[in-house]
Structures are given as C-alpha cells and as structure tokens.
Symmetry: none
Subunit: 148 residues, 2 copies
C-alpha cells in the first residue's frame, strides 16, 4: 500500500524519478509496468498496470451514450498511457498529460493506497488550502461517528 507525499522535480526530459522507497514494491507488483492517466481534479493517476485493468474494464462497461459516463470514459481511459520505469527508476510523462495537469518542474507525488496521484505543486497547495480553510474539516457523511 502506497502512502506518503514526496516533493519531486521532473528532469529536463520530463521524466519522473520515482522515490526509492517505492521502487522495490513497484518492481515486485508490476515489473515496472504502470499506467498514467487523468483525474477529474486535474491531477494525474499512476496505477500499477495490473491494478488498472479492472478499473478500465469497469469504465468501459458503462453506456457511452450517457453524458456523465462518456465524460468519465474519455478522461480515465482516453488519457491513459502505458509507462515503464527505466533502469534508474524513472518514467516519461507525455506532453499531453503534462499539459492536462499543468505540470512543470515542481510536482508532488502522493501515495493513495493502491495508486499514486501526481500534482502540479501549486495546484496541490491550493487544493490543500481550500480543503483546510476555516480550520473545520468537512466530514463525509459516511464517516458519521467515526473519530481518529
């Protein structure tokens, strides 16, 4: 299970160097074969390729005539790209995805259990600030009665 946020910079060739602590488990789980795609919140999703397949299958089972469904399909499946870690644990981020998420040099890689999110650093900061404003965190109703 991936967790933890890492501040990273894309290199001149727009490659992402995966933090060392995650490289071994990624090699084990998917031999360095990953899928990079778009998320509605304007960040990118990074899945181990085997973990991605069932998600894509689920998406494509939806009706492509329904407006919400097709929008989701175009986003998640339409932007999805296969990427591989090279010998130095780096992977190439395509111009299309870079532009979608507004990535330039400074990015934030955020572990989310089964996968990662990849954010433009400023976008990451502002969604964080937005969520935390007024110091009172909104609790999802599913967590009624739950406490840390």
């Amino acid at each position: 299970m991936f967790r933890g946020a890492t501040s990273l910079s894309l290199d001149a060739k727009s490659r992402l160097a995966v933090p060392t602590k995650h490289r071994e488990s990624l090699q084990l789980e998917c031999a360095g074969n990953l899928v990079l795609t778009a998320h509605p919140h304007r960040c990118l999703l990074l899945y181990p390729q085997p973990a991605w397949e069932p998600i894509q299958a689920k998406m494509m089972a939806l009706s492509s005539f329904d407006k919400q469904s097709s929008a989701l399909q175009r986003l998640l499946v339409g932007f999805a790209e296969d990427v591989t870690m090279d010998s130095a644990g780096r992977m190439l981020v395509s111009p299309v995805l870079r532009e979608f998420a507004g990535l330039d040099k400074e990015v934030m890689l955020v572990g989310q259990g089964s996968h990662f999110e990849l954010w433009n650093m400023d976008a990451w900061r502002s969604q964080l600030a937005e969520a935390m404003q007024d110091g009172n965190f909104a609790m999802p109703t599913e967590l009624e009665g739950f406490s840390l």
Copy 2:
C-alpha cells in the same frame, strides 16, 4: 493509553526524541514502527503502525471522486509515512511533514489515548488560547448533561 504533553526540540537532523516514559510501551506495542501523518488542524498525528492500518483502510473505502472524501484521503493517507524509532528512541520527521505542520525546533508532543499529536509550539499555544478565550469552553452537543 498515551497521555500528557511534553515540550521537545527536534535535533539538527530534524529527529524527534520520544520521551523515555513512552518508549517502552511503544516498543511493546509496535516494535518502534509508527506512522506519522497530517491532521486538518495543521498538526501531525503519530500512531503505532498497527493502530493506523484500520484507519487508513476506512479512509480508502470512500469515493475518490467526492471532494470532501478525496481531501481527507489526500491529507491522512497522502501524507502518511512509516517511521521507526532508532536505538536512541529517535525518529526522523520528513521535510514534507515538517513543512505541513510548520515545525521548527520547538515542538509539543501531546498524548491522545491511542496516538499522539505533534505541534509547532506556537501553533499549540494559539489553538489553546483560542479554545480558552473568554473562559467559556464550548461544549459539544454529544456531551449534553455530562459534567466533570
């Protein structure tokens, strides 16, 4: 059950020396394996690793498309890092978490039963002052009829 507030200072390498009184129970409970993460109130949470896992599982069961849920996931799981006590009872606080909670040298470690909170000393003082201003503590409605 952890309780009690301790004023501490991070060392030059930004390590936190756990108070001696808590070291033994932490060794017993989790062999020095802990999880450090972010809290909406801009402090850090320190959980024994086994106690943390079910919380993370609960978080990741929420929808990642919902704004509130994903914000919570990004905060609690996205920032979570595994840390271990070294032979001298110290643990490393990563730059990302330090920045999040605005920690510099002086910090406050606060026992909260199952876990600890870690505060920047000034932030600790001001949240305390804010809660106590006008000398009238606001009582949660769940505590209707309850009194010390």
